[in-house]
Subunit: 190 residues, 2 copies
């Protein structure tokens, strides 16, 4: 297994905890690489499918990234912090068909360890994924996480959530004192 390039400030994150990055429902970025052409799309229709790192997303040919995703069978799901909110909106409102989004938005593409799609250096976490299934009737893609990274160097740790009406909600208080009541429902190692 390769590791991300030097200076990437990425820390490996256990696959059995990957679902905890997605379950709270943050806005995500999805990167692809078709040959040398990298792209990024914004995504907020995603869902945990199990405790093993399988994640569903809804996308289709209306997204420029779809072709590269299906052709390569690989992508990275990246979790941006609230400091990237305007960048994420910008990424979501232009197309990779005519825009080099890494360049346009000043984001750093880092090599991952398992897939060809790039990690985003400025994000809080990056999940390297392979396409496990495509349920065409529902435009639903099942991604399987194969490796994951967090970036402990980011100062802004809050994620943010799309309402879908053009407004967004930033994470507020993190309630940790109810965990004991949840023990019966937690999988091992989480």
């Amino acid at each position: 297994m390769k590791t991300p390039e030097r200076g990437a400030a990425m820390k490996e994150f256990p696959l059995q905890k990957v679902f905890t990055l997605i379950e709270p429902g943050p806005v995500l970025l999805l990167t692809t690489a078709a040959g040398r052409r990298k792209n990024i799309m914004t995504l907020s229709w995603s869902m945990v499918m199990d405790f093993s790192g399988n994640i569903a997303i809804v996308t289709g040919s209306w997204n420029h990234s779809f072709e590269a995703l299906m052709k390569t069978g690989e992508c990275v799901l990246a979790v941006p912090g609230a400091d990237l909110m305007e960048t994420v909106i910008g990424i979501g409102t232009c197309s990779g068909a005519d825009t080099d989004k890494f360049g346009a938005f000043g984001l750093t593409a880092k090599k991952g360890g398992e897939v060809g799609a790039p990690l985003i250096g400025e994000c809080l976490a990056n999940i390297e994924c392979r396409v496990a299934d495509y349920v065409e009737a529902h435009s639903l893609i099942v991604l399987s996480a194969v490796r994951a990274w967090t970036n402990p160097d980011r100062g802004e740790r809050r994620t943010f959530h799309a309402v879908g009406d053009g407004t967004f909600v930033i994470d507020g208080r993190h309630v940790r004192n109810l965990r004991a009541r949840m023990e019966s429902k937690l999988p091992p190692g989480v």
Copy 2:
């Protein structure tokens, strides 16, 4: 079309905006009614599928509600506020097989307008749904919203998000001033 029972304090919510209740990724409750037996489960694996009120959830026979959901083809997705956090955890850590959850947690079952499953009077919003599809290979159920209600009387308007490790994040600041930048991506009427 019937309306919810008198005093329910429910206000009709347009179906074309239902996706905005789910897209931010709040913890949800799901109610079912098999005959006279009502039940509630806690759910945080859910996803918007389109702008028309189709919503995916992951569940299966390991949840007691699954049988009633598949048998009746109906449920209600309810959005609890942060004031219900401990109640929601309680609901998620016991089983309808041996517990009358409405009674045990002091929640009010209200009649909806379209489905047999009850609305939850104490929630911020209730979405009456029919089962549109069951993708068994992925334990994925597609629900179609058929009617929706909000409860303007609740003082606590914040929702909360499960991290999946037994901790939760309450909504923080609601950012509304970026909507103009999103106009190109918003469906009509939202």
